[in-house]
């Protein structure tokens, strides 16, 4: 209370205990953690889809994250640490977002009835966000735990074998749709919630944001499905003899297979 007793007509204003600051912090943290996760998922999708360029390129991306190009040796533990960070943010976001969930049967009935009656786009999208968010509690956790414990099993063959022989593709397929819908709607909602990119005409910019949201979601869904199909194909082709590690040709047999143009010059002398 900053004005308190000097304000008249505010009956009891001065006597009231100061309201907790935590609702504000939780609200901001929910938005921020969502933003970080959504942007992370954009990056994640680009890195994962490197398989569409080539196996060598995807291999190089994974090795980059394992520090191979910085230390001359791969440390999958680095990946584990990043995964742990993402897991913490994910759990935090889930915890905070749960405050908005319908909490009992009455609230369920109320919202579903309301949504069906109103037929209002952003209200329906919230329900989609709620359902996909709930699904991600489980889908994302399973995936994150796997990555946390087996960070070295990421690579053109390693991932493909996991997807096909390890039967992870159904989970990835469902998770892909959940993530892209949830994150896309979430980013849009963040913008309208905090008034980002609002400009002079809030209605016009909201329309543009909504259109951009669908374009981005469609783009990542197409990219994601194509990428998953690519891993499934590689895994399927290797189904009889899965489990090997991928190593680029120029590392297996340097003189016959020269390294590609992007291969760091300082690593040309001492491959492996």
């Amino acid at each position: 209370m900053q004005t308190g007793a000097e304000v008249i007509a505010g009956v009891g204003l001065a006597d009231r205990p100061r309201k907790s600051r935590w609702p504000a912090r939780m609200d901001l943290t929910q938005s921020l953690s969502g933003l970080v996760l959504a942007l992370f998922m954009w990056g994640h999708m680009f890195f994962v889809s490197s398989i569409l360029v080539s196996k060598d390129f995807m291999w190089a991306i994974t090795k980059m994250f394992e520090g191979y190009f910085f230390f001359g040796r791969a440390f999958p533990g680095i990946v584990s640490m990043v995964v742990f960070g993402v897991l913490v943010i994910f759990v935090l976001h889930a915890f905070l977002a749960m405050r908005k969930f319908p909490a009992n049967y009455r609230q369920y009935r109320m919202f579903i009835g309301h949504k069906n009656l109103l037929k209002h786009g952003d209200t329906t999208l919230w329900w989609v966000q709620f359902v996909t968010g709930f699904a991600l509690f489980f889908l994302a956790t399973v995936h994150l735990y796997q990555m946390l414990m087996h960070p070295g099993d990421i690579g053109p063959f390693e991932s493909a074998d996991r997807v096909w022989t390890g039967r992870w593709w159904p989970l990835y397929l469902v998770a892909l749709f959940c993530v892209e819908l949830h994150g896309g709607i979430g980013l849009y909602r963040l913008a309208v919630k905090w008034g980002w990119l609002e400009g002079k005409d809030a209605d016009a910019s909201r329309k543009r944001l909504k259109a951009a949201k669908w374009v981005v979601t469609a783009f990542f869904l197409v990219l994601g499905v194509t990428t998953l199909a690519a891993y499934m194909k590689i895994g399927y082709d290797r189904r009889d003899d899965p489990g090997g590690r991928y190593t680029p040709a120029w590392l297996v047999n340097p003189p016959q297979a020269p390294p590609p143009w992007w291969w760091p010059s300082w690593m040309r002398e001492t491959p492996k």
């Binding site: 209370m1 900053q2 008249i8 209002h120 919630k193 008034g195």
Partner: protein, 245 residues
């Protein structure tokens, strides 16, 4: 006279009087011929005059100023007096606004809810005791600022934003866009001595501004086209900034 060009409207109204012992909610369909420029206000009055005197609904100004005639028109909150039947299909439904206390049929007691909201948010100008001098001439206000305040003051408390709000439907204590807009209005007013800290006291929680899930149906259904999206975001930023410290 019928010229064959007008549609036959089928209006299904929710009928229920909680005062009537043993009464159960039901839908009743009225048929009437559409007229040029017919609003729901005209249609409902015609039904009451010619078909069913027991149908209850509220009207005062019939010009979108009093906010009494808000109802669910085909599932969407809106003012009956500002809704033309030509913008609706030939058969449509009318229901009372949810959230608010039902009087009977299409009539609800928005006033009771709005009064509670006003008391909770203290939606009046709070002046410092020393400044209260009824003989003194009021301080001047820039016309631009007066316009800005007036823009938000155009709220008629019809309840459409609350009825359209998913958060308010789920959580009875949510203050709704009408409440947050009021805070935005008094925050603009230089005569109001309250600071953001004071406003945080009344809306800085999950039943206040942080309970808003940004579904924005309030903005989309507001019959007065209030800039609710902008105001909700603005107050949220102010309250979040204050609370973060």
């Amino acid at each position: 006279m019928t010229n064959g060009e007008h549609r036959k409207l089928k209006i299904s109204c929710l009928r229920y009087n909680p005062q009537e012992p043993g009464a159960a909610p039901r839908m009743q369909t009225y048929e009437l011929e559409e007229a040029d420029g017919m609003t729901l206000f005209i249609a409902l009055n015609e039904i009451r005059e010619k078909q069913d005197a027991s149908l209850q609904f509220d009207f005062v100004c019939r010009a979108g100023i009093c906010g009494s005639c808000a109802m669910m028109i085909n599932g969407r909150p809106g003012l009956a007096c500002r809704t033309q039947t030509k913008d609706l299909p030939a058969s449509f439904t009318l229901a009372p606004l949810p959230v608010f206390e039902l009087i009977a049929d299409l009539s609800v007691n928005t006033g009771k809810w709005m009064r509670a909201m006003s008391e909770r948010l203290q939606t009046w100008v709070h002046m410092k005791s020393a400044e209260v001098d009824l003989k003194r001439i009021e301080e001047r206000m820039e016309p631009e600022l007066a316009e800005e305040i007036y823009l938000l003051d155009r709220c008629i408390e019809c309840g459409c934003c609350v009825a359209g709000c998913g958060s308010a439907r789920m959580r009875e204590d949510f203050i709704g866009a009408v409440g947050i807009n009021k805070i935005a209005r008094f925050r603009l007013d230089p005569r109001d001595a309250r600071t953001d800290g004071d406003y945080y006291e009344v809306i800085g929680d999950d039943s206040g501004v942080f309970g808003c899930m940004s579904l924005l149906a309030c903005h989309d259904v507001c019959p007065k086209d209030l800039p609710l999206q902008t105001q909700l975001a603005f107050i949220r930023r102010k309250m979040a900034a204050l609370g973060w410290k």
